[in-house]
Amino acid sequence: MNKQTLNVIFTFCIFIVFVWAAVTALTFSRLAQFFPLYVSIAGSIVSGIYLVKEVIKIRKQKDQGSHPKVLIIKPIIYTGWIVGYVITISLLGLLIASTIYLIAFLLIESKFTFFKALYSTGIALVIITVLSNLLNIAWPQSVLLGL
């Protein structure tokens, strides 16, 4: 996607969020309202002005050659890996989820051989377990299994 267009869409989203925040702030009591109200009004004004300026800029530059593109599909795929890992943790617990995630990622994305992926995963899990025990670090718990 065109970087400038994405910038306009992003600014528009921010503008909408600030306007919504300002309207919502009006429902708060006086002492809770002043800070978010000031900030959201300022945000609405600045984002509104910036949005208009960007739209005018795009219109002026419409016929002036190509604009830089931004990657969309690849970041979505990689974010999907992270989200998938988090969902697996919530289902199976950290250790099982990490094993599945690491082996799958190392085989598919990192192009490791199976044995290399296996011992890399083993070493990582040992380090996680030892550090967690030494530093008393808590792990996210599985919703289903309670692990």
Binding site: L31, G43, Y85, I89
Partner: protein, 493 residues
């Protein structure tokens, strides 16, 4: 006083105390190295062990740990662009670009040397402040604290880069995210969507990790390369130390600033590195801050270790903790049968002075220890992204989870991380967002107290006016000087 200091040094150098100090240093470095953990986690880990301990030994353990957290946290900040703790956020700005150029060892050398000097200056500041601390601390009322918060926020303007509008919006987004949760003035929840997790607001480690680390994870994968784009490491630790020595006045200025900010209770140590970075950017000539200028590493690293000395002044002498770490330290004092307060200057003076010495010695030992680790750890920056990211993901998710031990931490990490990624690809500056977030609650709280307590009269307070003028000078000084210089060039002077 000097005699007491020498006596305290003798106590600190006792082998058993040195051993406990080294244990604390080891833990402090590990805690700093692991993203998401910080001094508060380290303190919580050690607290159960100090119960009933000899106060000199207990303090050697606790202060040894807290002194070096900001030394160890330099590794992830420089090598991966991920803040090791909340005090090393600004180090990323130039440390990471230097690592990308293959100059990670140089950046690390400078950072560790500055951390050491900064820590020593912080210890000296603590020593010097002992007799004069009382009147100074009582002079910081809420209007002054509000203006100091505004001074911190003005740094967001300095870090806006080429687009002031994007910088301002980023800062405002930070303030908005910071206002989620309970209002400081009244028991009322804002923008929580009835989620219990949001009632206390979002925590700083989650936001800092999300806004800086998540985009790095995705970018490293999409670009299929290592952090060091040059694929080889240039410059060594000693080159970095040499760079630091060349900028000794910057180290001094930043360390003094760090001590002073740490000294002010409630301002929040998380902003100290940004303040030092912003001040450095304004005062260093011909700088290329943000593009891999070594001075952009020197300024925040000198300040964040110096802050620890400053923050101990109100904690020990008045029992006012300036951060979560110092709050737990107060608990540690109680567990050892002591109480913070004026007694720390009279009957417990040797203990206070032993803390000063521990701070100084721990910083030296910690920096030297880290310097020996630079070479092997710097090689991390040569590992291709697709091989490093899966392991980093696990580390970061566990790190984010440590804030509240709630699933909300992980969901917030991904949601804010996506925002950070979009900002990254669209060239929106992310540091202003973090500064806004850090200072949101302080700004609201001190503004509200100032208005309720003083009406609008607080605006006539001379310290308030002075800080106000300083903010205006900081924000406009650069462009005015640039205009004058351009005019002079045009006129051929």
């Amino acid at each position: 006083m000097i005699e007491s200091a020498m006596e305290a040094l003798r106590i600190v150098l006792d082998p058993s105390r040195i051993l406990f100090m080294c244990l604390g240093i080891g833990l402090g470095i590990v805690v700093g190295l692991l993203p998401g953990l910080g001094g508060t986690v380290g303190m919580s880990l050690l607290l159960p062990f100090v119960f009933g301990m000899d106060p000199f030994v207990g303090m050697a353990l606790l202060i040894g740990m807290v002194a070096v957290v900001h030394t160890g946290d330099t590794f992830p900040s420089v090598l991966l662009g991920i803040p090791g703790s909340s005090g090393s956020q600004a180090t990323i700005m130039d440390g990471f670009p230097l690592a990308k150029k293959g100059e990670a060892s140089r950046a690390m050398g400078a950072a560790l040397f500055c951390s050491m000097i900064g820590g020593v200056i912080g210890g000296v500041a603590l020593y010097l402040a002992i007799p004069i601390a009382a009147p100074l601390i009582t002079s910081f009322n809420s209007p002054v604290l509000f203006m100091l918060t505004m001074l911190g926020l003005s740094m967001a303007g300095l870090l806006a880069g080429d687009s002031p509008a994007k910088g301002a919006l980023s800062g405002l987004m930070g303030l908005m995210i910071g206002s989620v949760g309970s209002a400081p003035a009244i028991t009322e929840y804002r923008y929580t969507f009835d989620f219990l997790y949001l009632s206390n607001g979002l925590s700083l480690p989650v936001v800092a990790l999300a806004i800086f680390a998540f985009p790095i994870l995705i970018t490293m994968l999409t670009h299929k390369g290592s952090v060091a784009e040059a694929n080889r490491l240039k410059g060594g630790v000693l080159k970095g130390v040499g760079d630091a020595l060349k900028n000794k006045f910057l180290i001094m200025r930043s360390a003094v600033l760090g001590s002073l900010i740490g000294f002010i209770p409630g301002l929040g140590g998380s902003v100290v590195d940004w303040l030092a970075y912003g001040a450095g950017k304004k005062t260093v000539r011909n700088n290329k801050f943000g593009e891999g200028d070594i001075r952009g590493v020197i300024a925040p690293e000198s300040a964040n270790n110096a802050k620890e000395g400053g923050s101990l002044i109100p904690t020990l002498l008045f029992g006012i903790p300036g951060s979560g770490t110092t709050a737990i330290l107060l608990g540690g004092l109680i567990l050892m049968g002591l109480e913070a307060g004026p007694r720390m200057l009279t009957t417990e003076l040797p203990l206070t002075l032993s803390i000063v010495w521990t701070l100084v010695i721990a910083n030296i030992i910690g920096a030297i220890l880290c310097m020996t680790l630079v070479k092997p750890i710097s090689k991390l920056s040569l590992i291709p992204g697709e091989k490093l990211v899966p392991f980093l993901t696990i580390l970061l998710l566990i790190g984010a989870y440590q804030s509240n031990f709630a699933w909300g931490d992980i969901i917030a990490f991904i949601a804010i991380g996506l925002l950070g990624y979009i900002m990254t690809i669209l060239d929106w500056p992310r540091p202003p967002l973090l500064i806004g977030f850090v200072l949101a609650i302080s700004a609201e709280r001190y503004y509200w107290i100032s208005i309720e307590r003083y009406g609008w009269e607080w605006l006539s307070n001379p310290i308030v006016i002075t800080i106000g003028v300083l903010i205006v000078m900081l924000l406009t000084g650069g462009s005015i000087m640039k205009k004058i210089s351009n005019n002079l060039q045009r006129e051929g002077v």
